[in-house]
Structures are given as C-alpha cells and as structure tokens.
Symmetry: C2
Subunit: 205 residues, 2 copies
C-alpha cells in the first residue's frame, strides 16, 4: 500500500497533511468542548492537548468562534446526510422516519453531534449563529416532511407534525447531555430504546 518512504512530499500529500492537522485540531477541540464546556476551554488548552502552541491553531483556523462553528457544522452535516438518505429510502413513512430517528440519535451521541446539541446559540458570533440556525432549520424541515409523508400514507398517526417533530427531536437530543461514552450501553442500544418509546407511547396498547 505505502510507496517508497521518501521524506519529500507531493503537493497532494502536503495538502492532505494540512487537512489532517486541521481535522486534528477540530477533533481535539470538540472533545474538550464536550468535556469541559466551550467557555471553560481555552485555545491554549486545546493546543496543549495537541502538544503545540496556540498560534498553530490560528494558523489553521481563524478564531475561536470559527473553531466552534466548524465543529457544529460537521455535526449538522452528518444529521443532514442522514435526513437526505431517509428521504430517498424505500418503505412506509413510519419506516423511513424510524430509520432516520435511529441514526439521528446515534449522531447526537458522537463527538460532533453532541457538540451541536450542547452549543447554545449565544456562544456563537452573529454570522455563525445565522448559519447554525439555517442548518438546523433544514434538518427540522426534513424531519417534518418525513412525518407528513407518514401521516399521508397512514403509517403515522394523524396530528400536529410540528409538535411531534419537537417531541422526537427533544427526546433524541437529550442523550447529548447525559450519555456517558464510557458507559455500558452502546449508543445504538440507547437509540433503539428511545425510538421504541417514541413510536409506541407509554400507554399500553
């Protein structure tokens, strides 16, 4: 697989290495934000974890706001991708919604997804916040469309799609706050439980 290990890099290798370093910064940052909170994490802290100095971070990213914004954007892209996939999938509305919800819940227990949920708008600067909102709205819209399609084909109980979307999103966002990645339940198991309860309700059938 590996070529002759020349110390001289091709332009592709160099730009790849650069991207990898940028990613490493974001990965380290998002983990620390999730652990200790955005405001409790200085860029000096992040740099220290990577064994570099703060200006190195500024070499790859413009400022702290941008670091956070990139992190949430990665998380939101994952969610959007999942929404897209479910919109295009086969099956009844309920089936497609369920598949989406499972994936949605799992992403919210992952590094970048957790950051999306734990980040409140006020932490971001004005422009970042606007884009953050726009992306979140897209995901909400996609979820509502899945719900409405399910209501139309009769696989989802008729009702208020907007309120149902908030109910589902809230329940599936919450693990970002309480789930311990080191715990014994896997994200997939938790996701199944939550979706199960949301699908069937707590009243006996």
């Amino acid at each position: 697989m590996t070529q002759s290990p020349s110390p001289f890099q091709t332009p592709q290798q160099r730009s790849h290495a650069r991207a990898a370093k940028r990613d490493a910064v974001l990965r380290a940052a998002v983990q620390m934000f999730n652990e200790r909170g955005f405001h409790q994490t200085s860029l000096d802290d992040v740099a220290a974890r990577l064994g570099v100095s703060k200006p190195t971070i500024y070499h790859y990213l413009g400022n702290k706001d941008q670091v956070l914004f990139e992190c949430v954007t990665i998380g939101l892209s994952q969610l959007l991708e999942a929404a897209q996939a479910s919109r295009e999938a086969q099956g009844s509305g309920a089936d497609r919604l369920t598949a989406f919800l499972l994936r949605y819940a799992e992403i919210n227990m992952d590094d970048f997804g957790r950051c999306v949920i734990r980040t409140s708008d006020e932490a971001l600067g004005a422009e970042s916040r606007a884009q953050f909102h726009a992306l979140k709205r897209k995901i909400d819209t996609a979820m509502r469309q899945l719900i409405e399609e399910g209501m139309e084909d009769g696989s989802i109980a008729p009702g208020n799609a907007k309120m149902l979307a908030f109910t589902l999103a809230g329940a599936l966002n919450w693990p970002a706050r309480w789930h311990d990645p080191a715990g014994d339940e896997t994200p997939a198991q938790i996701a199944r439980h939550l979706v199960q309860h949301l699908a069937h309700g707590f009243l006996p059938r």
Copy 2:
C-alpha cells in the same frame, strides 16, 4: 389594607424588603441568563438592568456562581414540588405520571425552569454542581417511581423505566431551548401536545 403610610419600617417589613430585593436580583439575573447566556451576562449587566451597581448584588449574594446556583435551585424546587404532589395524588399510575409531566413541561418554559435546563454542569463550581446533580437525581428518581407504579398497576406499558424516563424528560426539557415566551402557543398548550405524543406514540393505534 394598607396601614398609615409611615416612612419607618418594622423589622418584618425590613427583612421582607431585603428578601424582595434579593429575589429581584435573581429574577433579573435568570432572565438575562436565559436571553443571552450565563457567560455572556456580567453582573454589571444585571446590576444595570436593575438600576444599581455591581457591589449591590454582592451585598445580597456571595458571588456569580451563587447567583446561578440559586436560580437553578428555585427551578428545581418547583419541579420537585410537582413530583411530590403527583406522588401523593389519586388515580392510576398513568394519570399521576401524566399530571406530573404536564406540570414538568410548563415549569421548563418558565424563567427558573428554563435556566435549569439551559445550565450545563460545567458552568457551576464544584460544590454547587454536586448539589445541582443531587437535586436532579431526586427528580429523576421520582419520575421513575411514578413510571414503575404505573407499570405495576398496568396503566403504563411494561418496559425499561429508566429509558422511558430519559425519553420523557428529554422531550419535555427541550422547549427550554426553543420555546419563545412571546410566541402564540401557551406553555400549557405546548405541554399538552408533547405529553399527548409521548403517551400515544407516533404509530397509529
């Protein structure tokens, strides 16, 4: 009702006035924390909104951590009271759980309840955080007990009480993030919608 309007206050009146001022500080603080976020709100800001200076706040409360801690404690007490009331109420487990959930959701759309949800542990100092956790655990325990009682009397579908509690709490906490007090839907209406969906699930019956 009002006595002769003497400018001289009784000791009761004085300590009452003091408590009222302390409450006013907390009320102003919690609203600003909810609007702009804890870290984006300085005690100078809070003082300015009240038309006083920062040392006045320190005259009533020890430090910023304590201000936040008092705010979340008020919210958590309201939740705890609601839990207590439902534990002692009449009716099936499902009825009592439903009543609790409605109240729980409404509190989370109120000033202090919103603050409870929006406050992440990392914002609090070590001791405050421990007490914060302890109180939240109490509420979680109460919710699980209601669920288990309902499962025992058959009014709630059998299943994993812990996961159900997380599902319910998540869905009902979330409005603290999106609900606009100036919007047209009242908290009571929203609460009813959410609980409706949680009780029945999204699959048709």
